[in-house]
């Protein structure tokens, strides 16, 4: 990631500013000494030359500082825009996540409702199977409807098979529902 490196660069730069300020304080003392020499008439041409060169260096440094200040102002304004955009992006992500959570909850409800209806189907089928079983047993006990008995038996077996398939549905469906529930709880941190 580049941003941690940039942050380290800015920190190092801020530390350098502290060094420059410390140097400037020392240099001011030195300048005062030179000026004192000139004022007292003790200074020769070399002192004047040194002060003159120092003034030029300080002026060049000031120009560089002014230039840097303008660039920093521009950079700060740009960085604030980046930061605002980063906040917007974060809000979008959070909104997107909550929309995803809500959708996952809706899906879990949809599955739960369907499972409930399927349980009602199984109950209805078991009731029908019980009723048909009674009719088939009566027919078998009667003994006078032998031509119909195989048909009744076949239907009874088919209903039993269907009831068994419904039970299988609850096994496979239940497992998947459990996985969805885990997924939803992970997403919502419930």
């Amino acid at each position: 990631m580049a941003y941690p490196k940039f942050a380290a660069t800015f920190k190092s730069f801020a530390d350098s500013l502290d060094d420059i300020i410390a140097f400037e304080q020392q240099d001011a003392q030195h300048r005062k000494g030179l000026i004192q020499q000139i004022k007292s008439g003790e200074a020769d041409d070399s002192v004047v030359k040194e002060l003159s060169e120092m003034a030029e260096d300080r002026l060049a440094c000031l120009r560089a500082v002014n230039s840097m200040t303008k660039r920093l102002e521009s950079f700060t304004a740009t960085f604030e825009k980046w930061q605002q955009q980063a906040h917007k992006d974060r809000e979008l992500v959070l909104r997107g996540m909550s929309a995803g959570d809500a959708a996952a909850k809706r899906l879990a409800r949809q599955v739960e409702d369907a499972e409930h209806h399927m349980k009602e189907v199984r109950t209805g089928l078991l009731v029908a199977l019980g009723q048909f079983d009674t009719i088939t047993k009566n027919l078998h006990a009667d003994g006078r409807g032998r031509h119909l008995y195989p048909h009744f038996l076949k239907i009874q077996r088919e209903i039993e098979l269907l009831a068994k398939r419904l039970s299988q549905y609850f096994i496979s469906g239940g497992q998947t529902s459990a996985r969805l529930e885990v997924l939803v709880s992970l997403l919502t941190n419930d």
């Binding site: 996952a104 399927m118 009667d142």
Partner: protein
Amino acid sequence: MPPSNKNDSGNIKVDFQKHYLGPAEAVAAKIGSVHAQFQKAANAIIAPPPPGLNAADLAAHADYVKILKKDLDLMDGAFNELRTMFKHLKNAH
């Protein structure tokens, strides 16, 4: 065993329609109603997921539908088979 009487020839007459086929038709009607309920529940199970679902949930839902679709189709076929059987039962008498 249902009550019976004798026909003109003196043979025992059993009212199959009243005692067996009629109740079987009632069961067939109930199963028809259960089949409609099943189709409604099955359609709800394989219905498209709500919008806004993330990729992981979409994949989980697709997995869920894939697993159950085959079972639901088989059960639907079994209900239709039962309907046909009940029709044949009436003709068999």
